[in-house]
């Protein structure tokens, strides 16, 4: 059953209230290592938006027209991950051909994205929650924007933390996680506005 959620609400929900990173904990690995640098964070965030939107559409189509047709639902993990790897590879080649400048800014982050759990997570959520095509596009795009927003905010905060006196044991990942916790609380403040699961 496709849930009846208006695309606009789904878009806002996936960016703010059920942020893929802060509410579903996906995409943490690259999130913590890349957020040291604002410029790199921006590049990776934009790459995630692009890849997430494209893969969620393709995986939607692949699931509904190929996997369900051949009744090979149990192979969906493998199929999804292959689609993601292929999309990332093609996008990398395409960007390198079209715009070397963009490739320098964005392309180097593309290989990292194949193993970003958020991308596979979005494809799986779309399939499990039985979203329609429009909902899938909106959810994929919104989750990407949410991720980008979160990593930009964290990178900006980490710049400040670098110059603050932090206990030796808490330096690096420890304090970063606590900042992310505070950010998650801040984003939870949006949850009064709309509630979508």
């Amino acid at each position: 059953m496709t849930p009846e959620i208006s695309p606009i609400i789904l878009l806002l929900a996936s960016i703010f209230t059920s942020n893929i990173l802060l509410a579903n904990f996906l995409g943490m690995c690259s999130f913590i290592s890349i957020s040291k640098d604002l410029k790199a964070a921006n590049g990776l965030g934009l790459a995630v938006i692009v890849v997430m939107t494209i893969t969620s559409v393709i995986n939607y189509a692949v699931y509904h027209y190929i996997i369900v047709f051949f009744e090979i639902e149990y192979l969906r993990f493998i199929v999804f991950i292959i689609v993601i790897a292929a999309v990332v590879q093609m996008l990398e080649m395409l960007i390198e051909r079209i715009s070397p400048a963009l490739y320098m800014g964005l392309g180097i982050f593309l290989p990292l994205i194949t193993v970003n759990c958020a991308i596979l997570g979005v494809s799986l959520f779309i399939q499990i929650r039985d979203y329609s095509l429009v909902q899938a596009v909106v959810y994929g795009f919104g989750s990407g924007v949410g991720w980008w927003l979160a990593i930009l905010a964290l990178a900006a905060i980490r710049k400040k933390v670098d110059t603050s006196p932090v206990p030796a044991g808490l330096k690096g990942p420890g304090i970063t996680l606590i900042i992310i916790g505070l950010m998650a609380m801040a984003f939870m403040g949006f949850s009064g506005m709309l509630n979508v699961q």
Partner: protein
């Protein structure tokens, strides 16, 4: 050989714990830790997948061409994850539903890929299997710790058993006469981040101390 095995065990469980020190695989780690039963099933799945994908990668390491090894490793991992998924759906359908997408996300758990790349690619099969199993156990230990705190304070239970019963017991008032007041924050995402941050802090402080005066 025996010393080597012990070294690996100690490294993976403590001094080089995948979550505390390498900060790997927390993607799927935090989401399932709001109760102990789900956490133990999830981490058992991860231990199984890490161990056997390490074994397989190590056996096949001379056959896999270097250029395509990443995608082959991913496929090997996905193969074991599918086994876990089918097993859970057949024998523990409720937990399978509760874990939802997170079982599939074991594929992109960085610990597994990391161990396959860093250890199994250059070591013999049996020791790789052991490395995978202990890495998974190190991951499980941290997850259980977080889940223990979250379930205890969030629901007042451990593995679903009531820990703080309200009312009178043996004619004595217990600590919580009106029943346990649930800490709602513990059931929400931020608490997982805070707890992991605090546990990393404690672990790192102890490790730094023991490094200073060995």
């Amino acid at each position: 050989m025996a010393g080597r095995v012990l070294d690996i065990t100690k490294e993976n469980l403590w001094t080089n714990n995948p979550i505390f020190i390498q900060i790997l695989g927390i993607c799927s780690a935090l989401a399932v830790t709001s109760n102990l039963i789900n956490t133990s099933i999830m981490s058992a799945g991860v231990i199984f997948v890490t161990g056997f994908s390490n074994l397989t990668v190590s056996v096949l390491k001379n056959i896999i061409p270097r250029k395509v090894r990443m995608i082959i490793q991913t496929l090997i991992i996905a193969f074991y994850v599918i086994i876990v998924d089918i097993f859970l759906r057949a024998f523990l359908p409720d937990i399978s539903r509760a874990l939802g997408a997170y079982i599939g996300l074991i594929i992109t758990n960085c610990i597994i890929m990391g161990r396959a790349e860093a250890f199994a690619g250059s070591h013999p099969p049996l020791i790789s299997l052991w490395d995978g199993l202990t890495s998974g156990t190190g991951y499980m230990a941290v997850l259980m710790l977080i889940a223990f705190v979250r379930e205890l304070l969030g629901y007042g239970t451990i593995f679903g058993f009531e820990v703080f019963p309200g009312g009178k017991l043996f004619g004595l008032w217990l600590i919580f006469p009106d029943g346990f007041q649930h800490w709602i924050i513990m059931l929400m995402p931020p608490s997982a981040f805070f707890l992991l941050g605090i546990f990393i802090w404690i672990a790192k402080t102890i490790l730094l101390k023991s490094k200073d005066n060995p």
